[in-house]
């Protein structure tokens, strides 16, 4: 069982103050093996904080990130799964699932994690899953009205991944999940 935290679009300190306290108390160091961040942190403090939660941190560049070393996209293998990460402002139309599926084909990954819209989505199709963990701080978005803070935790176990989404709605953390099983290569 490998736990992968996926989050992004925090926009600290332009549009948000901090992660919600209820989220921070869940992100205990040592419990998570990998962090995937879609981008738009936007400050070094956020990067440093995420590193304390888990040292294996992968970040892609959002349009407001100033760190020149964040790549436009990234692929990594965790267990049996190939994951791809990209902020998503590069994929037009923004949030369009078919265009995101094209990026998924291009990166040749089972799981594609993107952000930018601040809207949680998990889209299952024949070739894999496209996940958007939303905005971890509920930051303002011109694309999505009424953003609730959200993040995703993936539990990778063999050929199966369970995707848990945590959303802060009216002060309470709600959890939902979807299952995905890949056929052996």
């Amino acid at each position: 069982m490998v736990l992968v935290l996926a989050l992004g679009d925090l926009h600290i300190p332009h549009r948000a103050l901090d992660l919600p306290a209820k989220f921070k108390s869940m992100l205990v160091p040592g419990k998570i093996q990998h962090i995937i961040c879609t981008g738009n942190l936007c400050s070094k403090e956020v990067h440093d904080y995420l590193k304390t939660v888990c040292p294996d941190l992968h970040v892609t560049r959002g349009e407001y990130d100033e760190e020149p070393r964040y790549p436009e996209n990234k692929t990594l293998t965790i267990g049996q799964f190939k994951l791809g990460v990209c902020h998503g402002h590069q994929v037009i139309p923004w949030g369009d699932l078919d265009s995101l599926a094209m990026l998924q084909r291009q990166l040749d990954v089972d799981i594609l994690v993107t952000g930018h819209t601040h809207q949680f989505t998990a889209y299952k199709h024949e070739a894999g899953v496209v996940i958007n963990p939303g905005s971890a701080t509920g930051a303002f978005s011109s694309i999505t009205y009424d953003v609730n803070p959200s993040f995703v935790l993936m539990d990778i176990d063999g050929l199966r991944v369970v995707v848990y989404v945590y959303e802060l709605i009216d002060g309470e953390v709600k959890v939902d999940k979807i299952d995905f099983k890949k056929t052996a290569a």
Binding site: R15, P93, R105, F140, S142, Y145
Partner: protein
């Protein structure tokens, strides 16, 4: 001293809810807001960033639920941060802009028909404030940040059905692009922000829309590197076919974009041949193929199975050719595209019918 005050306020989590209190707080922390010759501390860059980050967060906490009071707060914040000087503006302007956009959205979501005129007047005033504030960023200068903020405002104006305001924001964004964004990497990012935002606009009449799309396609074709040109041009194809808007469905222009992208990909191949002796990767062609499939499925009449078949054959013959250098990434992409076509064929119904004429 000011740092301690700021940290205390944030720990308590309370909002600073009147313009008067905002004024008082800014007075208290004036050392953070602008330079004072005699009290000027030499902060190193990291400390300065941290300090301004605090100020940015404080600005976010200056909030009232009452729109009239919030407008006063916004004006007060603007008054203070504009004295901050070039180093501080990139930190303090964005949070003010987003606070303002949040208020605009609140006004726009008001269903109350009684206050509609007042709301509209206030919204227009708020748009003037954001324009003035972003304009000041030119003194720093931070053109990429300013351009991004103009585009955010354009979306807000779009949501408020204010076509001239939205057009003006785009104009300012385009001027910045043409005059200030010179770094080729920055141009690529920025052009995608422009295309992505424009793609979402529903407010523009035909003439305004044409003017803006024409410019966007032009910028795309003039990016420095051919692969970047190709990608930006095919991204522009989405400007001419909107799912959620029947009046913006111009298959002819979609096809023109994709063909233009293909010509650029060709040119890129030829350059590769000429300079490196090998015909480079077919990657761009595979990307364009995927875009053809996208529009084919949308039912764009000008995107035909024949066109798609032709491109598939071009890709397979080029890949097999003796002059082509192997590219595992392109091969993997083509393989997953072929798998996708096969999935669609196996779906049955209308989708499978469409894919009947495409052979892989």
């Amino acid at each position: 001293m000011s740092n301690v005050i700021v940290q205390n306020i944030m720990k308590n989590g309370t909002c600073i809810s009147t313009a008067e209190k905002v004024d008082a707080l800014f007075e208290l922390i004036k050392g953070l807001i602008r330079d004072f010759d005699d009290l000027h501390d030499e902060l190193d860059e990291e400390d300065f960033k941290e300090e301004q980050s605090f100020v940015a967060r404080l600005i976010q906490m200056m909030h009232s639920d009452d729109p009239e009071e919030m407008l006063k707060i916004i004006c007060t914040v603007q008054k203070h941060i504009l004295t901050g000087g070039a180093k501080r503006l990139p930190f303090t302007v964005p949070p003010l802009i987003f606070s303002t956009l949040k208020l605009i959205r609140r006004l726009e979501s008001h269903d109350d028909s009684v206050s509609k005129e007042d709301d509209s007047a206030m919204a227009k005033k708020l748009f003037q404030i954001v324009t003035q504030t972003i304009d000041v960023l030119s003194s720093v200068p931070v053109p990429e940040l300013a351009l991004g903020l103009y585009l955010q405002c354009a979306e807000a104006a779009n949501d408020c059905d204010l076509e001239p305001v939205a057009y003006e924001f785009f104009t300012q964004a385009y001027i910045l692009y043409e005059e200030e964004i010179t770094d080729s990497k920055a141009q690529v990012t920025t052009i995608h922000l422009i295309i992505g935002t424009l793609q979402r606009m529903h407010i523009f009449g035909i003439e305004n829309r044409d003017a803006l799309t024409h410019k966007a396609t032009g910028y795309s074709a003039k990016l420095l590197k051919k692969p970047d040109q190709c990608r930006a041009v095919y991204a522009c194809s989405h400007l001419f076919w909107l799912d959620d808007n029947e009046s913006i469905r111009d298959g002819e222009r979609v096809l023109l974009c994709l063909k233009r992208a293909q010509r650029i990909a060709n040119a890129s191949q030829q350059m590769s041949n000429a300079t490196r002796g090998s015909s480079g990767s077919v990657l761009l062609f595979i990307e364009i193929l995927n875009k053809y499939l996208y529009f084919y499925e949308k039912g764009v009449p000008q995107i035909t199975a024949d066109l798609i078949q032709g491109l598939i054959e071009l890709i397979t013959s080029t890949t097999g050719g003796e002059n082509t250098s192997p590219d595992p990434a392109a091969d993997a992409f083509f393989a997953s595209t072929v798998r996708y076509i096969q999935f669609q064929k196996n779906k049955g119904g209308a989708v499978a019918e469409k894919y009947e004429h495409i052979n892989i």
